[in-house]
Amino acid sequence: MQRILAIAGLTWKAALRFKLFLVIAVLLILAVVGLPLIIKDDGTAQGFTQIILTYTLSAITALLGLSTLWLACGTLARDIEECQIQVVVTKPVARWQVWIGKWLGIVSLNVVLLAISGGCVFGLLQWRAGKLPAAEQKILREQILVARGSAKEPNNPAAIDADTDRVLQERLKSSAVEKVDLPEVRKQIREQVKAALQIVPPGYERSWKINLGFARDRLAGKPLQLRVKFNSAQKSASGTFGALWMVGDPPKTKYWQTEAPMSLAPDTFHEFEIPPDLFDANGVLTITFANPNQTALLFPLEDGLEVLYPEGGFGLNFARGLGIIFCWMALLAALGLLAASFLSFPVATFFALALLLVALSSGTLAESVESGSVAAGNEETGQAGYSIADIVLIPAFKGVLAVISLVKNYSPIDALSSGRSITWGELGSAFAQIILLVGGAFAVAGMLLFNRRELATAQGTQ
C-alpha cells in the first residue's frame, strides 16, 4: 500500500505544483457563483433553485469530467513519453500498483474538488433560501430542498409484449403479412398497446394503483405530493387543459377529489399536495383521472404520474448525489488510464473523448438496435435494409448500450433538482455498477495492456 500511496501522492504533487488543482478549483467556484447571475428562471423560488441546482451540478460534472479525462490520460502517458516510468518500474513496484496508484491519485483529487464545489453549491442554496419569505421558504423546503421518495405504477414491458403478441397473432389469422414486414407490423401493434395504457380519451377516466411499499408505515398522517405530466396532440385556446382527480378507493379508504377541474399545461411537470392517509392497509394508493376536455390526453408510462413523499433531509441527499457524480469521475479516470496504457498522450485523449461522445450520444445506437439495422431505410418502401453488417453490429450495439445503461441509469442532477430522494441503495448500486463493474473492466484491461507494454521504446521528451 505504501507504494500505491506514494504514486498517488505524486499525482497530488504534480497537480499542486503545476497549479492544475488551483485552476480547476477556481473554475468550479466561478461556475457555481457565476452561473446563477446569468441564467434565467421562471421567477419562482422553486424554479430558480431548480435551475441553480441543474446548471451548477451539470457544469461541475462537465468541468470535472473533462479535467479528469485529460489528467488521467496525461499522468500515465506523459510519464511513459518522458521516461520517468522507466525509473519507477525498475523499483520493486508491480505495474498494476502503478496503475492503481495513478487512479487513486486522480480519484482523490476529484473527491476534494467535488467536495469544494459541492460545498459551494450547498452553501449558496442555503444562503439564498434563508433570504426568502417564510411561506416561500416552506414551499422550497417541502419541494426542492428535501429528499422525497418516489413511487410509480410498475412499468411492465413483459405484459406489453404479451399483449402485443396476442394482437399480432389475431391479425395474422385474419390477414397474411409478408415475412419482411413482420417486425414493422409488430412495432406498430406494440405502440398501439402502449397508447391504450397511456391515452385517456375525452370523457373517459384512467386509474393508477401505486404501491407505497414499506414507506406506508412512516407516511401515516403525512400529506403526499402528486407529480404529473401529460401530452396532448392538440392545443387549447388557453394553453391549459382541465383535470379532475380523485385519490383514494372508497369505501375501502378515505378519499379526496378536486371540486372543480384543475387547469394544467401540457408537456410540463406539475406537483400538487394531497391529504394524508388515502392509501389502503396494503399501502396501495388509488389515483383516478377523469378527462373533461374535448381532446385525448396522454400520460407517458415512464413519468406520467408519480407519488412523492418525504423521506429525508436535503443535505445527505445532496451528498449522495455528489457520490454518484464521483462514481462517474472514477469511471472517467479509469477510461483515461486505460487509453494511456497503450496509446500516446494526444491519441489517448482523443480516444477517450471519442468514447465519451459515443456514450453521451447513444441515441443513434438505440435507434439502430430498435430498427434492427444500421442501414438507412428505403424511402419508397419505408423498410429498413438488412445486411451482413447488421449481424455483427446490432449485437455489438446492444452490448455497448447495455454497458452505457449501467452508467447512465443514474440521474442525480434530475433527482436533486426535483427534490427526489437518492437512496443509499441507489448510491451503492451506482458504486457497484459504475466503479466496480464497468470501471473494474476498464482497470483490468488497462493493467493488462500496461503490463505487456514495452516502456523503454520512447525517447525522453522532457
Binding site: R17, F18, C83, Q84, V87, G460
Partner: protein, 396 residues
C-alpha cells in the same frame, strides 16, 4: 587502474546471466525495423564491475533496458539473481541510473529520494536518514528544496545516482553514469563505483567513454552493431605480451646508456623507446581544482560530495578499499602541478636517440633542479588520505 587488480570476489555467484539475447525493433506492421541486439551472451558475477563498451547505437542501452525488463527480448534468455527481469521482488536488489536522469521535475531532490524510498518500502526514519546521507554524498546537501527541473544536467545526474542507491542495492546498473558530469563529478562517481564493488556490490556500467571503463571495470564486453565484438578482463584485452615497459626514477646519462647498451645487445635500436611518463588530464585537472579549493574560491551549484553514504559503507572491508583508492589517488598526484618535470623514464620499443639526449639533460646540467618526488610525497599522501577518509569513513 581497473578494480580487478585487487578484486577478490569476481569469482562469486552469477548475478546476471544473458544467453542468446536478441532484440529486434519492429514497425507498426510488425516488420523488422532494427536489430539492436543480436545473439549476445555474457555473465556478470558478484562483486564485478562489468563494462558495456561501444559506440553510440551499438546496443548497450538496449541491453540494459532488456536486463531491467523495460523491453521484451525477441529471443534469448535473461536471468537476474536467478529470476526473470520482470520479477518484482528481485528489483528490490537492483539500483538503476538511466542514460538521462528521468526524474519528476516538480519534485525537489529530497522529495525525489523520499518517493523512491517509498517504492522500496523503507520506513520514514530510514528514508530520511538515507536521503540525508545520499544528498551529502552527491554534493546536493545544500540544494535539497530546489525542484529537480531547475537543476543543471550534472546535478540531475547526481540526484539520479542518489536515487539508484537509496535501497543499498546489490546490483547497480549505470547507463552512461558520467555523462554531463564535470571532471570532479566523474572522478567521484568512479571512486564510488570502485568503493561499492569492494563491498561486494555488482556494477554493470555502460559507457562510450573509454577512460570511464578503463578506470573502473574488471571485465568488459565491446559492442558494435548489436553484437559483442570482444569480451574479457581489461588485462586480457589490453596487455601486449610482445613488448615490455620499465619505469624508473630519473637516471644519469651514464647509467641510462649502460642500460640501453645491455638492451641493444638483444634487440635492435629501432625497437627501444625512452620518454617521460605523463599524468592524465583528469588527474592534472583534479589537482588544479583542489588547489583552487584550498584558496577558498566559491562555486554555485553542486558541491563536491566525495563521501560515501554511511549505510552503503556498512559491513565492507575498509582497509582494502583504502589501499585501492590510496593507490589511485596518490599516483597521479605525485608529480608537482606547476612544473610537471620528468620524474622517471620509460623504456619501450621505438626509442628516439635525440629524445633520449633531451631526457637525460636535466640530470646532466641541472640549471633549475626538478623538485624531488620524495619531497612532494608527504603532501600528496596526506591529501589522498584526507580524501580517502571522507570517502570511506576510515581512520585518518
Amino acid at each position: 587502474m581497473p578494480a580487478a587488480d585487487s578484486n577478490l570476489q569476481s569469482n562469486g555467484e552469477v548475478v546476471v546471466s544473458v544467453r542468446g539475447l536478441t532484440k529486434v525493433f519492429k514497425d507498426f506492421w510488425n516488420r523488422p525495423k532494427a536489430r539492436a541486439v543480436d545473439g549476445v551472451d555474457f555473465e556478470v558475477r558478484q562483486g564485478e564491475i562489468f563494462g558495456l563498451l561501444g559506440p553510440n547505437g551499438s546496443g548497450k542501452s538496449t541491453t540494459i533496458k532488456l536486463l531491467l525488463g523495460l523491453l521484451n527480448p525477441t529471443k534469448g534468455h535473461i536471468e537476474i539473481f536467478g529470476h526473470s527481469p520482470r520479477h518484482v521482488q528481485t528489483k528490490s536488489r537492483i539500483g538503476y541510473l538511466p542514460e538521462e536522469s528521468y526524474l519528476y521535475r516538480y519534485l525537489n531532490s529530497r522529495e525525489t529520494l523520499d518517493f523512491f524510498g517509498n517504492l522500496f518500502h523503507l520506513d520514514k526514519a530510514d528514508r530520511n536518514n538515507r536521503a540525508e546521507q545520499l544528498l551529502d554524498m552527491v554534493g546536493l546537501g545544500k540544494t535539497q528544496t530546489r525542484a529537480v527541473g531547475e537543476f543543471s544536467k550534472g546535478m540531475q545526474r547526481r540526484i539520479g545516482l542518489a536515487q539508484a542507491l537509496i535501497n543499498d542495492p546489490e546490483l547497480i546498473i549505470l547507463d552512461e553514469p558520467t555523462a554531463g558530469l564535470d571532471p570532479i563529478g566523474c572522478r567521484e562517481v568512479k571512486d564510488l563505483i570502485i568503493a561499492l564493488a569492494k563491498r561486494g556490490k555488482t556494477v554493470i556500467l555502460s559507457s562510450h567513454l573509454l577512460s570511464d571503463v578503463e578506470d573502473v571495470c574488471d571485465r568488459v564486453v565491446i559492442y558494435y552493431g548489436g553484437k559483442i565484438q570482444a569480451n574479457g578482463t581489461l588485462k586480457e584485452l589490453l596487455a601486449k605480451p610482445d613488448s615490455l615497459r620499465i619505469t624508473t626514477p630519473v637516471l644519469s646519462r651514464e647509467t641510462l646508456e649502460k642500460v640501453l647498451a645491455t638492451i641493444r645487445h638483444d634487440i635492435s635500436t629501432g625497437e627501444v623507446r625512452v620518454d617521460n611518463p605523463t599524468q592524465n588530464l583528469e588527474s592534472y585537472f583534479l589537482d588544479v581544482v583542489a588547489k583552487a579549493k584550498l584558496a577558498a574560491h566559491e562555486t554555485s551549484g553542486a558541491q563536491s560530495g566525495a563521501k560515501v553514504a554511511e549505510y552503503l559503507r556498512a559491513g565492507g572491508d575498509a582497509q582494502q578499499t583504502t589501499e585501492k583508492v590510496l593507490g589511485k589517488l596518490s599516483l597521479p598526484q605525485a608529480a608537482p602541478i606547476e612544473a610537471p618535470k620528468p620524474a622517471s623514464k620509460t623504456i619501450a620499443p621505438g626509442a628516439d636517440e635525440n629524445k633520449l639526449a633531451e631526457l637525460v639533460q636535466p640530470t646532466a646540467q641541472p640549471a633549475k633542479p626538478a623538485p624531488k618526488i620524495e619531497a612532494a610525497k608527504p603532501v600528496d599522501l596526506s591529501r589522498a588520505d584526507e580524501k580517502l577518509s571522507s570517502l570511506l569513513g576510515g581512520k585518518k
